[in-house]
Symmetry: D2
Subunit: 101 residues, 4 copies
Amino acid sequence: MYVLMDIMVSPGGVGTSVSPYIAMCQKIFEDAGLTHTMHGYGTNVEGEWEDVMAAVKRCHEVLHEKGAVRITSHMKLGTRIDKDQTMADKVTSVQEKMIAK
Amino acid sequence: MYVLMDIMVSPGGVGTSVSPYIAMCQKIFEDAGLTHTMHGYGTNVEGEWEDVMAAVKRCHEVLHEKGAVRITSHMKLGTRIDKDQTMADKVTSVQEKMIAK
Amino acid sequence: MYVLMDIMVSPGGVGTSVSPYIAMCQKIFEDAGLTHTMHGYGTNVEGEWEDVMAAVKRCHEVLHEKGAVRITSHMKLGTRIDKDQTMADKVTSVQEKMIAK
Amino acid sequence: MYVLMDIMVSPGGVGTSVSPYIAMCQKIFEDAGLTHTMHGYGTNVEGEWEDVMAAVKRCHEVLHEKGAVRITSHMKLGTRIDKDQTMADKVTSVQEKMIAK
């Protein structure tokens, strides 16, 4: 089952500068070989369900090891059976409607 | 790793009445033996990471089988290493602060 | 326009104990006369769009005044034009499907 | 109060092809003069609180007019008082940490 995910990881108890922790998660997605794109409020990640979920768990484990005493992740998970679709397809689909107007 | 989750499952392509699909997920959490409480905008679920994630995957699989051509789940996942905490503990903690005022 | 909202307010830069800040928001919803119910991962709030949004803004303002240097709120906002529906209606609708099984 | 928002608007009762509705919201953000960037699972929008919220309300109103009988929006709202920060600053901050590794 292929999944399109958006994830925002919020480490707690590490002060207000959380970007080093976000960078650790980016590296985990990269090392896992998952397609991923960061935006201003999270990261789009896509791949097989098991691979994506293993990477999310790894983020929590690594950030706890690095000092985050509590972590909250906000995720969107999308699956569909009517057609194959990537994140890039979704963006293109909206952009086409905007041009068509 | 114990996880506190909040999940809202949104099946697409099934019309505007989604409650039968939500009920199917409730049954999956129940059958998995996970502590779960429904509220107006999702369900609190808690348990071991692997058990909770297996139930989420099962929700997507079952809803697709039952006709949902696309599904988006919105989730919050919380883990912490400083202390054990349940969903009930979190609510009680806030309520105590309200009484103390 | 009537709106059903779920909100989780996350104050940053205040240490790991955020419950006093959550309690402040509960009081704001209460003082605004909005129907609200706390759960383990947020609060269901319902009312007229303008009233609900004014309360959300007030939460951010008050928490900043009380020392939260950064705040992230995660919200779900639901509106519908086919029928009137409260949060309680939504929960009841799912529960009826569960009993019917 | 300046706010960084991420929003995903989900129209219901319109079938599985929601991209025309998403395109309508993009146009609303554009017409409102707000800085906005679409990604695979939503849109980053930033500006003054009142302007951003007025645009969100307008999205719900327009989509209802165009046939969406129910709409759920998932939003993240971030405010901070310690420094000025744009969405672009957030992404740059993480990228610098990744290069520094």
